[in-house]
């Protein structure tokens, strides 16, 4: 009432002073929604007045409205109204704060159940909130060049090649089932390299099925993106590359010991099963035991030491299609075939392999070596008499590496530069020097029976070498975890041709091989 009268006084003062309107006229004024008194200018003043009066009334009306607004504002500053306003504001703030808390709780709860997407150095990854279902997309791209020296242009094609171009789909389904699907678009034909699933029952018991690397060769089992050189050594010529099969495997005591044993179709030396089916009845049992006794110990200098043995055994039955069980040939570092069997030769009996192997990694230093035996009974069907020979081929290699920039070397974890390549920051990535020596010795029995006129042998000693020795040096530049550049040189010599023969002109063993490799590799 007090504030209402204050308004009435102001209004009356303004209007009354001009027109002498009665003050009490406002006593019955209605209260507006905002609590302010509305002001009605008597109709007669507007209807009966001159235009000048009307304008003056209009101006006065505006003044009155402005005054009413001011009075309302003043009323807001009374203690009671202030308290009410503060209380309202306090509630509003509290509500907003609480709403924010609830929104955050909701967002957190939602995030806990929402699928996750990540992108980084390890590729793309999509996973369910509980990570039981994961889909990862990786890729490997290797763009190489090979330049052969002193080959009189007779062998070894200089040029660029797309060595590997592999999109890799991997991940897990239902938590315990890992999968991997890796086609390869590099080389001369598109093929499936890996297609397998692994059931992770426990660390010490897993089941792997599909197409994957059989557990024999140490260098062969190293991931393609982690090998020291562009091409694997001569020792890998004697072990299988990829095969279809079923394997049981696991780690014991946190990886101190690991095992793999499996049943496979049986791939020939250095060969992958290109087709995804098999025409033979026989199967190969492949197995590997590997130990890293100090893997989990505090002895830093021995943690990276591992040793083991891999092997395989199969009995090729000549009644079935056994030509596929023979190696398509042993190749040099430059991927030239320096040994092949004659066309009429086939697998005929037991084929076993054994490969003792070891590696040692400590800080920037790495050393890897293996010995491989491939013992296979083969026959031919020459008219001059069937020849059946137990061919005992052997090979070995030793490879060392040193990271000049001090990063840690490892068998299969790749290299993570301390500083990624960024010339603007004077960062140059990681640099590694690598060296390797390898030999492969072919059983001389495969050449016996050869003469210029009658070739009863299993291989032609004038076009196939009975031994090769290769050394290689290289420099690897890791720009970051995903991009790597290689430069290496490999020199391969061949043993004297068997039985005093001479290698035919233009054949691979006729001269030593000198090849310069480069590679740009992108892997994520």
């Amino acid at each position: 009432m007090k504030t209402l009268k204050l308004k009435q006084v102001i209004i009356a003062g303004v209007v009354g002073s001009q027109f002498g309107l009665p003050v009490f006229a406002a006593d019955n004024a209605a209260t507006g929604t905002n609590g302010a008194a509305s002001v009605d200018i008597p109709a007669f003043a507007a209807d009966g007045g001159s235009p000048a009066q009307e304008a003056e009334i209009k101006a006065l009306k505006q003044q009155v409205e402005a005054l009413v607004e001011k009075v309302d504002a003043l009323e807001q500053h009374t203690p009671t109204a202030q308290a009410a306003t503060i209380s309202d504001l306090d509630q509003q703030v509290r509500i907003l704060q609480r709403q924010r808390e609830i929104d955050q709780e909701t967002a957190t709860a939602k995030a806990a159940t929402a699928p996750k997407i990540s992108l980084g150095a390890n590729g793309f990854s999509f996973s369910s909130a509980d990570t039981n279902f994961v889909l990862q997309l990786h890729a490997v791209l290797q763009f190489d060049s090979r330049t052969f020296f002193h080959d009189d242009n007779a062998k070894g094609v200089d040029g660029f090649l797309l060595r590997r171009a592999r999109p890799i789909l991997s991940g897990t389904v239902a938590r315990d089932f890992e999968y991997n699907f890796t086609p390869d678009f590099g080389g001369s034909q598109v093929q499936i390299f890996d297609a397998y699933t692994i059931y992770h029952g426990a660390p010490y018991f897993q089941i792997e099925a599909g197409k994957f690397k059989p557990p024999v060769g140490l260098e062969a089992l190293q991931a393609d993106v982690n090998t020291s050189f562009n091409e694997r050594s001569l020792a890998t010529d004697l072990v299988p590359n990829r095969d279809l099969g079923l394997a049981f495997k696991g780690d014991v005591s946190g990886g101190v010991a690991s095992y793999v044993v499996g049943l496979f179709n049986g791939a020939s030396d250095y060969n992958s099963t290109v087709t995804n089916s098999y025409a033979q009845n026989n199967k190969s049992v492949d197995a590997r035991l590997f130990f890293q006794p100090w893997k989990n110990s505090d002895v830093n200098g021995l943690r990276g030491f591992g040793f083991g043995v891999g092997g395989s055994y199969e009995n090729d039955n000549p009644a079935t299609n056994v030509t596929t069980s023979l190696t398509p040939g042993y190749t040099t570092d430059g991927q030239q075939k320096f040994f092949t069997y004659n066309k009429n030769v086939y697998a005929d009996g037991v084929h076993w392999r054994l490969s003792p192997q070891s590696y040692y990694y400590y800080g920037p230093f790495g050393l890897l070596g293996e010995y491989a035996i491939s013992d296979q009974r083969v026959s031919n069907d020459n008219i001059g008499g069937k020849k059946n020979v137990d061919v005992h081929n052997t090979a070995w290699d030793i490879a060392g590496s040193w990271l000049l920039t001090g990063e840690d070397a490892s068998y299969n974890n790749g290299v993570t530069p301390r500083q990624n390549f960024d010339p603007r920051l004077n960062h140059w990535g990681a640099w590694q020097v690598v060296a390797r020596y390898a030999e492969l010795n072919v059983d001389n029995d495969v050449f016996s029976g050869y003469s210029i006129n009658h070739n009863y042998s299993l291989a032609n000693p004038t076009t196939s070498a009975d031994g090769a020795q290769a050394w290689a040096l290289g420099l690897n530049w890791y720009l970051n975890k995903n991009v790597r550049a290689n430069l290496s040189f490999a020199h391969t010599t061949f043993s004297e041709a068997y039985g005093g023969n001479k290698y035919a002109s233009g054949s691979v063993p006729a001269q030593s091989e000198n090849v310069l490799f480069t590679r740009i590799q992108l892997a994520f």
Partner: protein, 330 residues
């Protein structure tokens, strides 16, 4: 040597007869934390005396609907003690972890205690809230959880709706208008009943909290009877929180026997006393009489009478696009 072997044999026997430790997970709704903290200790003692085995009971609490969904999504509850039967029905129908007739396995449709919805207001009841009509008045700020996620909030919604139906001679349109006004007074929706209590009592938001009766009493104990008071409306709803063994989980965990006994023991004198002490209305008449002072007289309607059971009520009011969605978007 003989003595040594004998000792060895005794030691082996001692090891082999060591008491087993059984683990049990009870997935429950928001305001039962204190009830089951007391009850679990009592049951563990009972079970130890009965079998010699230790039972370690873990609790999980949250909005009843959310908890049910967690079990459906794989939370391996051995038993569920939720706010309403519909949520356990969902576990049965969607995940098939227990049979559809689970409610028949224990007395009182597997509801060993009941509760209802009351008002918690600030001391002195500054807004003069006495019944549901006061709650829907303009300018009254009401705190209640989201009925889409909270069992208690669904009971509160239905209590208000039942009151409106009765007041308006079963006129559903008038009841909808009433419930619309009520939710226009709700400034913030928590996901569970405990969250609403936090909003009202800790964050000091609102004039009235629509609360489980036990939750309202707990708030008085927790925050002080000098700060809040309970107002019992003229009409409310009989809330019957059910319990059930999640058969498939319990079977997989080899806990079926202890899980069954865990729920059965809720009906025992000791179980009923613990419920009453935690302000849940016991089923046992003797215990009810003993704790009568804890519970105000109120006219209680049942969901079956007023809404035709949970399935119908859920579909009509709380399913996507149901009455609640319609009125809350207005």
């Amino acid at each position: 040597m003989k003595t040594f072997l004998y000792s060895l044999l005794l030691a082996a026997l001692a090891v082999s007869t060591n008491a087993a430790e059984i683990k049990l997970l009870n997935v429950s709704y928001d305001p039962t934390r204190e009830l089951y903290a007391d009850y679990n200790a009592a049951f563990a003692k009972f079970w130890k005396a009965k079998t010699g085995d230790d039972v370690n009971i873990s609790q999980s609490h949250g909005g009843s609907g959310k908890q049910a969904q967690s079990v459906i999504n794989g939370l391996e509850a051995d038993v569920v003690t939720l706010a309403l039967a519909y949520d356990i029905d969902a576990i049965s129908t969607q995940a098939r972890l227990l049979p559809a007739d689970w409610q028949k396995r224990l007395p009182n449709d597997s509801t060993p205690y009941t509760s209802t919805i009351v008002f918690l207001v600030r001391k002195g009841n500054p807004k003069g809230i006495k019944d549901w009509d006061d709650v829907v008045k303009k300018g009254v700020s009401v705190v209640v959880a989201n009925p889409k996620t909270s069992g208690g909030a669904r009971w509160a919604y239905l209590a208000a709706y039942a009151y409106a139906l009765e007041k308006n001679h079963r006129d559903d349109t008038a009841a909808r208008d009433f419930i619309t006004k009520l939710y226009k007074n709700v400034p913030v929706l928590d996901s569970g009943a405990r969250g609403s209590t936090v909003t009202f009592a800790q964050r000091q938001i609102g004039d009235v909290l629509l609360a489980w009766e036990n939750e309202a009493h707990l708030a008085l104990k927790e925050f002080g009877a000098d700060k809040y008071e309970i107002v019992t409306p003229s009409l409310s709803i009989l809330a019957e929180p059910p319990v059930a063994v999640v058969d498939k989980n319990a079977k997989r965990h080899h806990t079926t026997e202890v899980a069954k006994e865990y729920l059965q023991y809720l009906y025992s004198d000791e179980g009923q006393e613990i419920a009453a002490k935690n302000f849940y209305r016991p089923r046992n008449e003797t215990v009810t009489a003993k704790y009568a002072a804890n519970f105000n007289q109120v006219k209680l309607v049942t969901i079956d009478q007023e809404f035709g059971g949970w399935t119908k009520a859920q579909q009509t009011h709380f399913a996507d696009g149901g009455v609640f969605d319609q009125i809350y978007q207005q």
